[in-house]
Structures are given as structure tokens and as C-alpha cells.
Point group: C2
Chain length 332, copies 2
Amino acid sequence: MQRNRTRRLMLASAFCVLAVVSTLAQAADALASWTDGAAKARIVAFVKAVSEPGGKDFVAPPERVAVFDNDGTLWAEQPMYFQVIFIMDRIKALAPKHPEWKTQQPYASLLKGDMTAVMAGGEKALLQLVMTTHAGMSTDEFRQIVSDWITTARHPRTGRLYTEMVYQPMLELLDYLRANGFKTYIVSGGGVEFMRPWAERVYGIPPEQVIGSSIKTKFEVRNGQPVLVRLPEVNFIDDKAGKPVGIHQHIGRRPIAAFGNSDGDFQMLEWVTSASGARLGLIVRHDDAEREFAYDRKSHVGKLDRALDEAGPRGWTVLSIKQDWKQVFPIR
Amino acid sequence: MQRNRTRRLMLASAFCVLAVVSTLAQAADALASWTDGAAKARIVAFVKAVSEPGGKDFVAPPERVAVFDNDGTLWAEQPMYFQVIFIMDRIKALAPKHPEWKTQQPYASLLKGDMTAVMAGGEKALLQLVMTTHAGMSTDEFRQIVSDWITTARHPRTGRLYTEMVYQPMLELLDYLRANGFKTYIVSGGGVEFMRPWAERVYGIPPEQVIGSSIKTKFEVRNGQPVLVRLPEVNFIDDKAGKPVGIHQHIGRRPIAAFGNSDGDFQMLEWVTSASGARLGLIVRHDDAEREFAYDRKSHVGKLDRALDEAGPRGWTVLSIKQDWKQVFPIR
């Protein structure tokens, strides 16, 4: 008994040593896909400042919370939000069972590929498409639908899986922050149940650290088995001024670092960076048409205008994909 | 540089060894306040089964999620929910600034100590008292109000702080589960912002692992500083069929262990224990009038009726405070 315990103790210690060595080795090239520019320097200086015990900016690990927007910050969002492409694909997949859609808007236009006509229907048409594709099934069924799509559907321009359209430098940043005691969260306008099925595998972010928009669910017992049924009713919109609300509801403490790319992230950046103590606010600017996409003030997706104007005075770092990232997408 | 790194490495390893030794030492009497009865045996067998690598019931650590009701499960709830006592105390504290309350219901009755008259006003009166005391301030201000109350107010019968009315065996259970890789959550009908300010200190449960009822909040910028303002509008009721909904919204995966004490926990227990694989459902039964309180089927607070009838067939363990706990409250 005593010998067994000693052996387990030695084994456990050996694992600990290995873990420490590996962390030290990683630190050197943790941000390998970042050029040695101002953005990387700012990130590294911030992380060092908050994790240096005894330093004036030290933050205890439980308070080291970092929040990331998803669309345009962790993965691409052009030519349109990937969740909108998911909706289009689902409508097409469901169409054979709905012959009435051939003459019924907004389905008819979508099935003809006329997105301009769909968009002309405004928010009401879009909401109808969301509810048709996101509600009416159990949470387990929806998880399966998303999992099936995300492992097979491919981006129209690159032919990559959407999960291969994530930004390699941001994957490194997530790892780097976690290696330094941070808890990393997604705070996205996208659907929380659209992200959870793959966020852990792709980003290392577990379901309980994904915050997003949601529809209501209802507990029911069907044939003796409890299920949660997804209802065609908006529960929460996690965008703009909704982001700090979602953060507070879910985390209950104020993050110390926020990463976004559009005016939809303005209030999140404002909420995070206006508290006292060391704070980091960073905006990903899409300025690389060659390797990714170039868009900002005039874009219908990921519009970056006010946040770009106010980044300087507010002390937010604006990252240029062109200059700050050696590599954009992971090597396949 | 190299020497510094070696020193840090050795220090880190030493800490690891200490951590391992301390975990081994704890294991023996982790549940010291529990008698060696069926409840303790069931808990220990479950934890061993899910954490034994290679065992048929093994559950990977990220899926080891345990959910705990709060009122009547982690702390006492008699003679009434402690949050109701908080409301009464707040109304009394605010009364000098509201002379009109002397003649206005339900305030007038409450200020006279006539709770029967208050209750006669039904849900509407109670909701009015909730909103008067919980809304209209920022989230930071409310946190301070709760913190001030919880560190000074005392239980009418025992004279203890309310945070000393927590159950010692449940504190040990929380620690024991966490030492075995579990993530512990509160899932309570009580207000999430009423629990968060002290749950980490008292239970070791951080704010992001507290799920509860809530009112809506609104993001605003006041004098250049962003705040979240608490609105007099219900956001979510985390009780009964709301508990599985809250769990799914917040955690996004199904827990494997649930602990409750009343019919308000029925659906949570049902949701957790009806999935496949090893599952633990446990009900705290209040049957010790001498050391705590005795109540179940007829109680207006923490009514335990249907869940008591169905516990057997559903495989839920019913714990008797009288028989299963050597000690109820922590020694002061």
C-alpha cells in the first residue's frame, strides 16, 4: 500500500516536471505566426505584466479572463457569416420535404440563389430562415445537424472546411493566454449552439466558455425521456451592447482582455478596457485581400468604423493582418 | 538565464510534489462529517467508477460536471429563504427614504413585520418587493449591497452569519468532487447576483459556475464610464423545468451528478440521471429538527413530495441529515 502510494507520487511528480519543461519550451515560439511588430509586443508585455507575481499589474489567475469575438476575429466571415451559409445549406437540404417553398418567400428566392431578394425581405425574412433551420428540434438533434455540416461543408472560395478558415495566429494566442493562466471565452453574435459542437476541438474552448445569441428552449418529457426543445423565439442577442450583458450574465466578472474586429465589439471592448488595472483591447483589421479579405468601414459584414476611429484615444491596439501575421490560415 | 530557468523549474516541481502529497493525504478523510452509511458509500462508489481510467464507467474530466441546488442543499432555507430575509432587511433599510411606504402595500405590512399580510398579496406583491430591492442600481452597486449584508446579517434562530448556515458535509463533498476532477456548479432558483458575491469564498465555486434566476440588465455609459444597470424585469427563472434549461444555456453539456432537496429540483435530477452512463442523483432530506429543521411534503419552503415518491424507482439516493451527517454546520 505504502509502496504503491510512493510509486504514484513519483509518477505524478514526473508528469508535473514534464509539464513545466514543456511550458518553458513553448514560451519561446508561442506566437510563431506573428511578426515582431507592435501588436505582438503589446500582447506579450500585457501578459507578462499581469502574470508577474509581485508586479504592480499582477492579476490573480481566476481574474485572468479573456473574451474573443468569433466571426472575423477567430475565423473568417466573408463572403458572409458562415452561419448564414449554414442556413442556406439547411434550407436546400430541407426543401424536398417542403414543396410549398418553391413559391413562398423568402424560401423561393433563397432556393434560386437570389440572396439580394432574400435580403430585401429584411430582418423579418432572415429571422424566418433562422427559425426554420434552428428551431423545432431537440438540442441533441441540432448539435448533430451542426456537427454533420461543419465536418463536410466547404468555403466557396478556398474549398477549405470552415474550421480550416480559423486564424492560425489567433489559435496560438488562445494557447499562449491559457498557458499563462487565462480562461478564454468566445463572446459572439453568432448562435451559441452553432459554435459549441466544434469550439472545443478547434479552439480548445469548452462549451461552458462559449457565449452567443440564443433562442429559447423548453424542457419536455417525450416517451419517458427528457429533452430540451428549441423554440422559434429569440432568447438573447449577444451583439453590440448585448455583449457586456452576456459577459456579465455568464461569467459574472469583468474580463481583463478583449479581442474583436468590428463595431459589434465596441461595447465589449469599452466594458473590458475602461476598468482600472492593466487591460488589453485589440482589434483585428482585415486589410489583406491577397491572403484573406480586405474590408472595414463600408462592409455589410463585420463593419469596422467607429471602433477604428476611437481605437487610438481608447488605447486599443489595431492589428493589421497584412503586417502582423506571417501566416493567416493553418497549413493543411 | 539558464540557472534562473532551472531554479524556477525546481521550484515548480516542488510545488507539484506538495500538491500531490496533500491530495493523497486528504483522500482518507475527505468526507469526515459523513457517517459510513449508504449515502456516503453511494457517492464514493460513483466517484471511483467515473474516475478510474480504463474502467467501464470512466468519464473524461471535462465531462465530470456536478450541479448543486443551493437553498436547502448547500445552506439552510428555514424559516424562509435567506434571500427573502435579505429583501425584508433591505426594505427596512430603505424605508427612511420612502415615507410613502408607511401606507402603501406590500411595504406597510412588511415594515410592521406582518409577513402573512405580505404573502396575501401573492406573487405580485413578492415580485414588487424583489424589484424594489434588486433593480435600479448598477451590478457593481448591487454586489456591494449583497456583500455588506451577507457579512453582517444573522440568522434569527442560531445567531450565525448566513454563510455559517452552510452544511459542513456538503462543503466536504464539493471539495471531494473537485479533488477528483469534477467541476462544481450551483443551479439555484435564487438570484444569481445574490449568490455570486460570496459563493467563491464560501463554497469554492467561482461566479462563472453559478447559475440562478435573474433580472434583465442594460448597458449604459454614465459620465464616460460604462455600467450595467439592473432593470425591474424578469430575465430567467431557474426553478423546476427551468433548471435543465439554465444548465444547458450556461454549461452546454449534460452534468453527470445532481444534488437537490425539493420538488424544485425534480427536473434537474431527471435531466441529469436519465442519460446513459454512470449518473448520480441525490436528495438531501431534512429530518433533523434538533440539529437543523425537519420538513418535507407540507412545507411552504423546500417542499419535497413528488421527488421523494419517485426517488426509489429513479435510482436517486435520499440522504437523511439525521443518519448520514455527523455534523450539520461548520464548527465556529
